[in-house]
Amino acid sequence: MTVQTESAHRKDQQADGPVLEAEGIRKAFGALTVLNGVSLSLARGEVVALIGPSGSGKSTFIRCLNMLETPTAGAIRFMGRPVGRRFRDEPGATGIGTLRRRVGMVFQHFNLFPHKTVLENVTEGPRIVLGLDATAADAIARDILAQVGLAEKEQAYPSHLSGGQKQRVAIARALAMRPDVLLLDEVTSALDPELVGEVLTVIRRLANGGMTMVIVTHEMAFAADIADRVLFLEHGVVCAEGSPQDVLINPQNDRVKAFVSRFNQ
């Protein structure tokens, strides 16, 4: 009884605080500093769009959020707990394994597993990482594949799918882990223009469903439409931050103005 109350109490605390935080993230590759102190606090259900010119560090930053890149300095906190440098959980720190289990990622180039069917791509995480049995994992995967409109493709191999279908499988693969946060790294940049819409539709539906997301994108109109907050990065620092209205539609900052105007032509 006490245990239950305690855990319920802890849950409430978590629900109030940020889900994922990055504080003063610095990342250098040799002499090249890509990120120079970027911070972000992500509330539950919030959609944050990261925009900026190429080379501004937005992809590096989103990859620091699930520790695919190890920050040179700065801290990542998940559910209020610092994330350590080890895969396993430690007394004072959440492990990278736990972080990645609960923070999904979708990549620009899909990175589907070519030797596995669509269904196997989606069940891989639930089976191997979460330890579910085949029946349970298949049920989750079929449910999610139906949500992204690919129920009839479950036995296909990735090489037989269009770019848009591949990206929707990749989203399904991330969703199958039932993540608390979804990181989307330029997920429409590698797609033919006519296939962008089907992927954006899926993302929009996730946003409306309350999924917490960080989105790196060049789709300004889309970012303005679904994001609660926009961060503009340039040269590894946040130049402007605020609502889509403030950052994208009525930019005050000259650099942002110049950048955004190029997309409005």
């Binding site: 895969f87 394994g97 990645r100 990549f107 990175n111 030797h115």
Partner: protein
């Protein structure tokens, strides 16, 4: 006009068969040991540990950049003087063959693993897999497919390479053909039978290898 007479040679059929058996034994033995050595060397190369990587490279380049015949002679005649113990010719032969093929296998294994796109590792990591899980479930199944043709090819070469152990008196097929020649003074027949036996074993193997390669390419 030379008069062929295989009947003289075929009297010694049992010697040829024994030689073929020894050749097969050395091939299979050195392939098994070579795979183990190759896996360890490949692991050392990819460990990200500089000194381990260096040792593995020195071993690999030493064995890849010197002729097998030279290695056999060195291990049988020179190495024992260096360490002050006698080494049985069978041990020297098996050891050298294994180390030799292992250095090539290591490169085949390493090449297959590093040829898998970085995105595969990252996608596996992003769903929470450990490095070991990603290796076993995602990287290795794809890498193995790419390694297989080169692996089979190297193993076929290994079967031929074992003929060199005859120079340190291991009674393989090449050695036994020389023995039969010594008994019969019929080099043409003795060495022709030897050559045909090598071809009889290897031709079907190369056909299987080609077939596997075609099938793998079709499944891409």
């Amino acid at each position: 006009m030379y008069k062929w007479d295989f009947s003289i040679v075929t009297q010694y059929w049992d010697l040829f068969l024994y030689g073929l058996w020894i050749t097969t034994l050395y091939t299979v033995g050195s392939i098994i040991l070579g795979v183990l050595i190759g896996m360890m060397t490949c692991g050392a190369r990819l460990s990200g540990w500089k000194s381990l990587n260096f040792i593995a490279r020195v071993y690999q380049e030493t064995f890849r950049c010197s002729p097998l015949l030279v290695q056999l002679l060195w291990f049988y005649y020179a190495f024992p003087l260096l360490v002050g113990i006698t080494i049985d010719n069978h041990v020297a032969a098996m050891l050298t063959l294994s180390l030799y093929v292992g250095s090539f296998y290591a490169e085949i294994f390493r090449g297959g693993i590093v040829s898998i796109e970085k995105g595969q590792r990252e996608a596996a990591a992003a769903i929470g897999m450990s490095t070991a899980q990603a290796m076993r479930r995602i990287i290795m199944p794809q890498a193995a497919k790419r390694m297989l043709p080169a692996f089979i090819n190297q193993s076929v070469i290994q079967f031929k390479n074992t003929s060199l152990v005859s120079v340190i008196s291991v009674s393989d097929l090449a050695y036994m053909a020389a023995v039969v020649n010594g008994q019969t003074y019929r080099p043409l027949e003795s060495y022709t039978v030897m050559a045909l036996l090598y071809i009889a074993v290897l031709f079907p193997l190369t056909q299987v290898a080609d077939w596997i390669e075609r099938r793998l390419r079709a499944s891409d």
